[in-house]
């Protein structure tokens, strides 16, 4: 195998955090943005590592097994999310999941997941494809119904849906129907998404 091929895997690089580049948040600052309106807060989440898992054809069983041992739980079913530590997961499509963890301890999450699933699944780093906002407080239902077409009133903890917010494809994960929802959106449009969320907060609250 050529030298280049040897370089394909990052796992052979020891500590990934020795490099000397400083990240910025999706909104372009050093620290996450927090907005509060009438007791409801919108908090930018900048320490979420993400990796997508797509099962290889014919490896459904093996992949499910490996994923289960990685997550310490069954991979979430259609429309569901696994809210756990150290790994969380969201169903994103047939035989596809998004796995999440803290960047601090899982900067190389994609490699971890790939190592766990091996040839049974395709794994892609998605950490910086997304921005993330947590909505917390009483009355988030009123905010959500201005933002997207998910029936939030019917959502339970652990329900997840892909939907459109301000013409942006987003994931909505319900942590607590009465006070916690997580919104994942395209990172490059973090500003537009944030603007839409805060405008809806001012309108509904």
């Amino acid at each position: 195998m050529s030298k280049l091929f040897r370089l394909i895997s990052w796992t052979q690089k020891g500590d990934a955090n020795v490099h000397n580049l400083t990240p910025i948040t999706a909104l372009g600052a050093d620290t996450p943005r927090i907005d509060t309106v009438a007791g409801v807060t919108c908090t930018e989440v900048s320490d979420l590592a993400l990796a997508s898992v797509a099962v290889r054809l014919g490896h459904e069983h093996a992949a499910a097994k490996s994923l289960k041992s990685l997550l310490n739980a069954e991979a979430p079913d259609v429309g569901k999310a696994l809210l756990a530590q150290p790994y969380s997961a969201v169903w994103v499509g047939p035989d596809q999941w998004m796995v999440g963890a803290d960047t601090a301890s899982h900067e190389l999450l994609a490699d971890e997941v790939k190592t766990a699933l091996g040839a049974t699944a395709s794994v892609t780093e998605q950490t910086d494809a997304w921005c993330c906002f947590d909505l917390m407080g009483d009355g988030i239902g009123g905010v959500m119904e201005l933002l997207c077409n998910v029936n939030f009133r019917a959502m339970q903890s652990g329900d997840a849906a892909r939907t459109s917010i301000h013409h942006l494809g987003c994931f909505v994960v319900c942590g607590d129907p009465h006070g916690f929802v997580r919104i994942l959106g395209p990172r490059a449009s973090a500003g537009s998404l944030h603007h839409a969320i805060v405008a809806a907060m001012h309108s509904a609250l």
Partner: protein
């Protein structure tokens, strides 16, 4: 409109991208097909006033292609299938 996604349940059609007649899945066999077959495949449509099998892509959802049977006069949707399953059946037929 509301498309009853086989996996996700009722979803607004605004989340989907429409392509056209489901016959687009029946691509001619490059080995055997005639020029006329290719012309018919790419350009001719039944365009029925009534039930129509058509392709929708769930872009704002799970990125599945669906085969939706929808009445073009009333917009009533009577059947929704995962396109990949339909394609596999077609494949096994061929």
């Amino acid at each position: 409109m509301i498309i009853n996604h086989p996996l996700l349940g009722p979803r607004d059609s605004a989340e989907f991208v429409y392509l056209g007649d489901a016959s687009l899945m029946e691509r001619p066999d490059p080995e055997t097909a005639s020029a006329e077959d290719w012309h018919a495949y790419a350009y001719l449509r039944d365009n029925p006033a009534g039930p129509h099998r058509e392709l929708w892509w769930h872009e704002g959802g799970d990125r599945s292609w669906l085969v939706v049977t929808r009445n073009t006069v009333t917009h009533e949707i009577t059947k929704v299938e995962m396109a990949r399953d339909v394609a596999r059946k077609l494949g096994s037929k061929a």
